[in-house]
Every structure is written in C-alpha cells, then in structure tokens.
C-alpha cells in the first residue's frame, strides 16, 4: 500500500524516442485526474525550472505521457531526455480547458488541426475516445515528425509536409486548408504555433466557420 507521500511522487517510467529531437516521456499517474487537452508543468525538481507539456496519453491508463521536442539550449527538455526510469519528476497540474467542449458522444464531427508537437492533445483525445468522429490534419516539416501515425485509423490522420514528398499532402498545412474541401465539422480545434493558428483561423472563418466553432491552444 502506498504512503501518503508516495501518492504525489512522480517518477519516470519510460522514455521513448520518436525521432532525433522528439520523445515521449511516461511517468506514473498517481492520483492525477485529467481530461484530454490538458497540460502539466514538468520540472526536474520542485524549485527548478518547469515547462508546460500537453498530455499525450489517454485517460484510462495508470500512467501519463507527454510529447516533448528538445529545444536548442532548452533548460528542461534536454535534461528530461537524460532521465532514467525511477528518476523523480516535479509535476504541477493538470491545467487547461482545451478540448473541454469536444463531445465525442454527441456524434459531432470534429476537425483537429495541429502543427508539430501540437498533435499531443489530439492523441490523448483519440486514445480516450477511439470511436469519436474526428479528422486530424497534421502540419509537419518531414515525415519523421508524423508522430505515432499508426496509432490513428488511416482515414482519420492526414499529414502535410512542408519539406520532402512523403506526406499525404506535400506542402504547408495552411495551403492544404485553402485548397482542400474537407467535410464541414461542428467544431474545429487548432493546436500548435501561433502563426499557423492565426493563418488557419482566417482560412476557416472565410470558409464559413463561426468564431464559437473554433478553439485554439498555442504552443511556443
């Protein structure tokens, strides 16, 4: 049986590399309750620097995963990657409201638009609600950033690669949104860098989406 102190202690369970710069950090869930779309603040120790990372895993497991891209000169992302199973983490949260309005049981069609690691909340959502009616458009540079694309049903995941020619669409995500005739969704969720979100919002509004159908989460 756990002691009271152990309930709030988080330790690394696994680090899984996805490509040269990106990895999935898994830690024990403890008593954490979270919803898809929320994020946690992670540090090596309580007093040190913490960084925000969206939760990548679904809500059913006894662990929590986050998707992390190493930042050049980053104080946290590079150090986290060097941790070993059993090493302690400082976790704050979960926080946030992104995807709070996504209702998988109401047969709403959802359009998810992500750039880079902005795919994390949608991965969490898909793991939690595998039967939800969604379509995920993922903007990346190269195909090696199509993180865990095999986890999604083929018809639901669509990559746009700005470099190389191995994406489902070879070009920028925003160009795809302009050119494509995606089936209209009830709600659209955008997650990634602010330039992509800013441009995508303009395109979606021009396509007739109302502001209250569009939800955003900015990554920096």
């Amino acid at each position: 049986m756990k002691t009271i102190e152990e309930v709030d202690q988080y330790v690394v369970k696994d680090i899984r590399d996805l490509n040269e710069s990106t990895y999935v950090l898994r830690f024990n869930r403890g008593i954490m309750e979270f919803k898809p779309g929320q994020h946690v603040n992670i540090g090596i120790n309580e007093k040190g620097e913490h960084r925000e990372y969206s939760i990548y895993s679904g809500t059913h497991g006894d662990y929590v995963e986050v998707l992390i891209k190493e930042v050049d000169d980053g104080l946290v992302s590079r150090r986290l990657r060097k941790l070993k199973p059993g090493d302690q983490l400082s976790i704050r949260g979960p926080f946030g409201f992104f995807l709070a309005d996504a209702k998988p049981a109401s047969n709403e069609r959802l359009l998810f638009v992500a750039s880079g690691t902005g795919i994390a909340p949608f991965h969490s959502f898909m793991r939690t609600f595998p039967e939800a009616d969604y379509r995920l458009i993922h903007g990346i540079r190269n195909i090696d950033e199509a993180y865990d694309k095999d986890h999604y049903k083929e018809s639901r995941y669509f990559s746009c690669t700005s470099r190389g020619n191995r994406g489902d669409y070879n070009g920028r995500l925003t160009d795809y949104l302009l050119e494509a005739e995606e089936e209209k969704a009830e709600k659209v969720y955008l997650c990634g860098n602010s330039s992509m979100i800013y441009d995508a919002m303009d395109i979606l509004r021009a396509q007739g989406y109302r502001h209250d159908q569009i939800f955003t989460e900015v990554y920096f």
Partner: protein
Amino acid sequence: MQVLRKVSLKTLGCRLNQYETDALVTSFHKAGYEIAGSEDQADVTVINTCTVTNQSDQKSRHTINHAAAKNKNGLVVVTGCMADNYKEKLEQQEQITYVVENDRKSQIVSLVDSHFAGEITHPDKLDRDRFGFDAVQKSFHTRTSIKIQDGCDNFCTFCIIPSVRGRAISRPVNDVLENVKSVLDNGFKEIVITGVNIGRYEHEGIHFEQLLEKILEVPGDFRVRISSLEPDGFGDDFHKLFAHPKLTPHLHLCLQSGSENILLKMRRMYSVQHFRETIERFRSAIPDFNFTTDIIVGFPGETEEDFKHTLDFAREARFSHIHTFRYSKRTGTRAERMPVQVPGPVMARRSEKIRLLSERSRMEYFESMHGKEQRVLIEKVDENGIASGYGENYIPVKFKTGNREKNRFEQVAIESMVAGEDTYLFATII
C-alpha cells in the same frame, strides 16, 4: 480604561485585495482593535500587497518600508500576492514580523491576537481558508464585494497570478448567498461580485451565470455589479440577465489586445471578433451599456501594426475607461522567455496613446448620457447639499439634495457634464 491596540491596513492592487482588506478591517474591529487613520502610529500594520507588475512590486516594497520605518515597535504583517511570490526573501527582512500567504490571509487576526498573548505562531501553521473572511460591516464604504471564487487556471502567458493565487476554487453557493444576506443586513445597498476569474465559477454544477441569478433573487432593495470579467467566462445569453433591474449595466471586460496575433501569443481564450460580437449583443439589448476594459501595451513581439489594431478596436468598442498596463516581465511566466521584448520608450508612447483615447471615449460616453435617467447610490453629501455617487451605469453623478442622508438611492436626470480632473455628470432629482 483599557487602551485599544491600533491596527493600520494598507492595500495595493485589485478589487479582490481591497475586499479582503475591508473584511480584515471588520475582523480586527470585532476583535476589539481600533482602526488607525492613515497618519496615526499603529501597533500593527498589515500590508496587503500586489505583484502583478514590476511597478506593483516597487509600490508594495515602498509601502512595507514606509510602514516599518513609521512604526518601529509595531508588528508588520505582509500578505497578498507579493507574499506568495517572494515569501522567502520577505521572511529574511528583519523589519517584517510575519509573512502570510494569500490562502491564510483570512486568519491574520488570530495570528496577531496570539502574538499579543505571547504565543508566537508561524503563519504556515494557520489554517488555509480562502473564503474565511468576515462579512464586511457597513461603516467603511457604501458598496462591498462578495468573493465567490479565487485562483485562476487560465495561465495567460504574461500573468503571474496563477502562481500566486493558486488553482481556481469556487465558494459554495450557500456560503455566497449567506454572505450576500449578511452584508445586506449590515446595510449595504450595492454588492460587487468579485474573485480572480469569476467567469470560471463552478460549484457542484452551478456556474457563474446560475449563481448570479440566485444572487439576484435574494430579496431586498439593492443592486449588483460585476467586477472584472474575462470574455470567455459566459455564454451567448448572458446579456439577457441584465434585463433584471438589480443587475447594473456595466462590465469591466478585459480585452488586453485588439490584435488577434497578440491575443494568441498571450494565450487568451477568445478572439477580437468574439469580443466584438459580445459587445454588439449587449448593446443591441441595452444601447447605453457601459464597457470598461484593461489593455496591455508592449507585449513581446507587439508590432506597430498590432498596436494599431488595438487602437482601432478600442475606438470601435467605445470603452468609457481603459486601464492601461505596460507589459511587465514576470519571472516564471511563458512570456518571460519570448523574444523581441518591446523597448520601454515604445511602450510609454503606446500607453500614452491609449490613455488619450480613453479620456476621449470617456467624454463621449458621458455626453451620450445627457438627458437620461440614472438611479444613484449616494456616497456622500457635502456641506452645500451636493450629493455624489454612482449611477447604475457606473458613472459619477452629483446633484443638489435637501436630504443629507447617504447610502440611499435617488432617481435623477442627467443635465450636463462637468469636465475637469475628476469629470462627472450633473443631474437633478426627478
């Protein structure tokens, strides 16, 4: 005759802090302390600090130093957001007797009582209770706040408040309603609904708008104001609640920027278009609805074009007052690490432009009220029989009266605007 101990309380920052100080004044008063005037020596000085900007830090430090120097033998108790943000540093200062974090603020009277009884208690041993304040007594102001919520989970990239006020927590509905009834019994005629992010109120399935409806149903001749509100904190039907005669037609709705690009970087949860449609919805129902707002200038990466969007939108929105902040880098926030920090002189210039716009908009709004009726809650009546107070639209009004009683409502018609340092509207009783 027993000489009462004197306590002095100083407040910096937001309306929530002001409310918590008012409640502490009540608690000290009930516990037998005398409330010291601003120039009096005091046995205890409580400084309720703010840390929202660098300037707030400076003001808080100055107030602490001044109070400690003035009352060398008195207790100095530092609380508020600065106490949370710089706890260890403040605890090292000899001039400060106690540093009390926000969630133990309501217990300060028992801490001070214990001290004078010879029991030295570390503030960390006090109970955490963010809603454990006394209902404010009538004698201090004509309006009082009702705290319904504390903390914030929004984590806007510029904001230190989630770190110092903690996770969002909502006060139970019945506690709120009991507090409302208590302050009405104490004679207040106007209550202000307050908290850190009140639109996120949620307790056992009751959300902000539902709570507001319950407050409006409380019997009595009083009116309700809403303090600062985030644009994502209510639904599309919120404006319909303002048909209720007790709910005043004014909102301080925080814009922060009129640039969609900057709003995204601030991680605000609304767009300019959403804000625009909200204002339009309200004004289509209540044409003279009064909106005031906060704007931050000089957020990292804010270009001249971004700022122009803000100016243009602020002009379009016709805010009667804009509280302008120059962006202030706060340690631990996401914006701290953003590149392209805007130089101080650029921020100063933008701030001045917003201030001028705010003044002009205020005049225009006041002029638009000419000939309209207002129900004024009288705050004071001077020796010439001129009463002053605020109308329901949160506009300052003065009028001649033969009745010197304050804290009562009077229906007036606006006749003219008197411009000056404190511009106000002159009216006559109907």
